[in-house]
């Protein structure tokens, strides 16, 4: 194994065991050094680019929270006009807040206009940079500081927004889901995305030990459990052809969703003081229905 210079250098201030940090590393490893990175405001941005030091060994730009896709569109246009577009990748990396919520409009615009940008959403299922507030990526029944469980609440009461489908509905060349545990699958998808002749979107589940309330050594394990339980199926779709969605990692036998929920403190109210079997069953049913569609 060759010792390579990390394109995301150590010394960054992301938390111990951060799934986003690992995702960014894996993504850049696959993309290579001829990559321009565009990042919206969020955990990754504040922890990697604190003046006067940067963790980035590739060109990097951050503009604001809701506009990474628009800024990336500008980068694409400029490179084209400079005659420097060939051989250079543009990768935007946003969190779930900057992608599912506040950045969705700019993202849709970038997809629709057909900019050759690979947009990677590192989804940790809440606003972690501001302290674990609910986003439209927060899953059903999860605790966050703004979806707290209580006498009249089971935590987040809505289902996660299907961002991958929304991306695919634009008919863009490549859309996939990925997660850090399955790095080979993820990195292959990054390469496919970058070779697409147009916009590509990769939705990466990146567990957050701080926000999901699990010990930092379990980040990869939780990411793996998400796939093994069918909570987060790994798939890819070309040209918006959702009918021909392809499952890329098929768990040999689906584990009960309870295993995934039980390791995360954000679901602890489903287990104590009393176990809320009905809620767990409902989540299991939601996952079963989805997996049946995928043949998992």
């Amino acid at each position: 194994m060759k010792e390579e210079k990390q394109l995301l250098a150590p010394g960054h201030r992301m938390c111990a065991g951060c799934g986003v940090a690992l995702s960014a590393r894996l993504c850049l490893e696959a993309a290579g050094e001829k990559t321009i990175v565009v990042v919206p405001t969020g955990c990754m941005e504040v922890t990697t680019s604190q003046y006067p030091e940067t963790a980035w060994r590739v060109p990097f730009i951050h503009v604001a929270f809701e506009n990474a896709a628009a800024a990336a569109s500008g980068v694409d246009a400029a490179l084209k006009m400079m005659g420097k577009r060939e051989g250079v990748n543009i990768v935007a990396m946003g969190g779930d807040g900057g992608t599912f919520d506040i950045g969705l409009q700019a993202l849709s615009g970038m997809f629709e206009r057909g900019h050759r940008v690979t947009y990677v959403c590192n989804d940790n299922e809440a606003y972690m940079n501001t302290g674990i507030q609910r986003s439209s990526a927060t899953p059903y029944a999860a605790w966050t500081t703004t979806s707290p469980p209580g006498k009249k609440s089971i935590g987040e009461f809505r289902e996660k927004k299907p961002i991958g489908y929304i991306a695919a509905a634009h008919g863009i060349p490549y859309v996939a889901t990925a997660t850090i545990a399955y790095f080979a699958d993820y990195q292959k998808k990054v390469k496919k995305a970058l070779s697409a002749d147009g916009p590509a979107f990769i939705h990466v589940l990146t567990p957050c030990p701080v926000g999901w309330r699990f010990p930092p050594d379990r980040t990869v394990e939780v990411s793996r459990l998400a796939v093994q339980t069918g909570v987060f199926p790994l798939w890819e779709v070309r040209d918006g052809d959702i009918e021909n969605l392809r499952i890329t990692v098929k768990p040999p036998e689906r584990k009960p969703v309870e295993e995934y929920l039980a390791v995360q403190g954000r679901f602890s109210h489903l287990f104590k003081p009393e176990k809320q079997q009905d809620v767990i069953d409902r989540i299991q049913k939601m996952v079963d229905e989805k997996c049946e569609r995928y043949g998992i």
Binding site: M1, A9, P10, G17, F183
Partner: protein, 82 residues
Amino acid sequence: MGAIIDEPGSSVRYKTGSWRVQRPVINSEKCTKCFICAKYCPDGAINPTKDGPVVDYDYCKGCGICANECPMKAIEMVPEVK
């Protein structure tokens, strides 16, 4: 100018190893040099070398993912003592 940072990778000046409360120790006898630990390190703090993985304690934050993921259970997390 404009808060531009023109020294790529200069974050290496910031040693995150001081955050650590436990350190990974690799048992080289058990290690098969699969380098899964290096692959999964969020901080790029495990260098794959021909003699096996080497932890860079200047940057290792002690998260323990390497120990948890090692298929040979060749990494032990040991409390940091001052």
